[in-house]
């Protein structure tokens, strides 16, 4: 989402803010650069036309409800939720892959013990979903859903199957590049993110309006995982690394220490 049409509801305060009467000091999360996120309206992606709001967004000041958020974790992922190849009696068809990485904030700090949810189609490009009926086979041994928590250093790791590309009806001969959907909470309402992870060198990028809705090419690159030979397991599975960066906090007076720039 670009910020160019945001109407300010109140002026931004400098980091840390001035002394405040109630003494209620809250963290502040930086706004992302324009063009980091897609615009709400992107006509090449037809579904945005009737769903993107027409009115400008109002700026919601970051108050208590915005700087807190659900810390969901313990107990939600089951033992095998991180391994999508072991959720059925048999093994799913397809190329076994390991997808790992870190969840960080914009200051490079790991976000520990945070819930990561993923979903994806099978190796043939079909989702186990009642509305996905294109003529590709379902795999009785693949659901395509994973959950895990990051560890104390913000690491996560899934074992799954290389997802297939799939057709859709957005434009003539439209195909989505292979991708895995990711959902993250971070530590605050401001950090909530749903995104998609892509694979390096996908030949379908050029015609995909979802991928290309991100206007900044450097930001777009951040949606693409990296082949990671150090994680590839011999005679077992290919490794891919995908780090996710959620909005960082502005420095507080305490974190600034003596540095007053």
């Amino acid at each position: 989402m670009t910020t160019e049409h945001i109407r300010s509801a109140e002026p931004d305060l400098p980091a840390g803010g001035p002394a405040r009467p109630s003494g209620l000091v809250l963290p502040r999360y930086r706004h992302d650069d324009p063009d980091t996120h897609p615009p709400m309206l992107f006509p090449d992606y037809g579904s945005t036309n009737l769903r993107a709001p027409k009115q400008p967004l109002a700026l919601l000041p970051q108050r208590l409800t915005e700087v807190t958020g659900p810390l969901l974790g313990a107990g939600r992922p089951g033992d095998l939720d991180h391994d999508l190849t072991r959720q059925h009696a048999g093994e799913p068809q397809g190329q076994r892959i390991i997808v790992h990485g870190r969840v960080l904030d914009g200051n490079g700090r790991p976000i520990p013990h945070t819930l990561v949810e993923i979903w994806q189609p099978n190796a043939a490009g079909r989702y186990r979903h009642v509305n996905d009926n294109w003529p590709a086979p379902l795999d009785p041994n693949f659901t395509g859903v994973g959950r895990t928590l990051t560890d104390a250093e913000g690491h996560y790791r899934f074992v799954t199957i290389q997802p297939g590309a799939y057709p859709w009806r957005n434009h003539p001969n439209a195909w989505r590049p292979a991708h895995i959907h990711f959902s993250l909470f971070g530590q605050a309402f401001t950090q909530r993110l749903v995104t998609q992870m892509y694979f390096p060198g996908d030949p379908l990028f050029f015609q995909d309006p979802v991928f290309n809705s991100v206007r900044d090419p450097l930001a777009r690159e951040r949606l693409i995982s990296r082949y990671d030979h150090s994680v590839t397991e011999p005679e077992w599975a290919l490794g891919f690394e995908f780090d996710l960066v959620l909005r960082g906090r502005e420095a507080t007076p305490f974190e600034d220490g003596d540095d007053d720039d």
């Binding site: 049409h5 405040r20 992302d32 993107a52 709001p53 027409k54 109002a58 807190t68």
Partner: protein, 220 residues
């Protein structure tokens, strides 16, 4: 919103990056962060396999005293229901507290057993979502003002490349709503889109993505 109608079939190759538009409050923003954020992408039409939880709509467990339902429908710009959206809610507990380390009053476990603060509901074929919850307390603000009881909502769907954020306020809090600093900054003719309506077993709160009743959405 910027339109990119000049795109050739090779999307994304022909446009200069970096626009002349500046983000609001540029002068006050911190220097460029060391790491750029991961861009958002749509949840797509198949979010249900990944994001639905059996207890998703339950901010509080069944049988919780005082619990009620927030129900509503999501509509698109043609007035059609949106049958593939996900609505999430986040709110304070009835005492106006958060069980979270960044609540400067201190993280406080809610007095209500099982209170999660968070709810998640997909819309059904009629575009309906539902959340069972308790009314949150009012919240102190940094400048001595008070925020009226409210829920923050995130809306995800096919066709939404980024989540939408809105707020739900309570119809029986007229005085508090009138003094609320967020509502007060909204165009008075549109404020009503953020106030739920009474319903037999709780509240009704419809979400209009476009149209004459377009809900006020926020950048947070």
């Amino acid at each position: 919103m910027t339109e990119h109608t000049d795109l050739t079939p090779t999307f994304g190759t022909g446009l200069a990056v970096g626009t002349s538009a500046s983000p609001v409050g540029t002068a006050a923003l911190a220097p460029t962060p060391s790491l750029g954020s991961t861009p958002a992408q749509t949840v797509g039409p198949y979010l249900h396999i990944g994001l639905l939880w059996p207890d998703g709509p339950e901010v509080v467990p069944e049988g919780t005293a005082g619990a009620f339902w927030i129900r509503g429908q999501v509509f698109d710009g043609a007035g059609a229901v949106v049958p593939d959206a996900l609505v999430e809610t986040w709110q304070a507990d009835p005492d106006g507290r958060f069980d979270h380390p960044d609540d400067p009053r201190g993280a406080q476990s809610p007095a209500v057993p099982g209170f999660r603060g968070f709810g998640r509901s997909a819309t059904d074929a009629d575009g309906r979502y539902e959340i069972r919850t308790l009314k949150p307390g009012a919240l102190p603000g940094a400048d001595g003002e008070t925020e009226a009881p409210h829920l923050n909502l995130s809306i995800f769907a096919r066709g939404l490349l980024h989540r939408l954020v809105t707020r739900l306020y309570f119809p029986d809090e007229e005085a508090a709503n009138a003094a609320d600093p967020v509502l007060g900054a909204i165009d008075p003719t549109r404020r009503a889109t953020l106030v739920a309506r009474p319903a037999p077993d709780g509240l009704r709160f419809d979400i209009h993505l476009q149209g004459p009743d377009e809900t006020v959405f926020f950048a947070v």
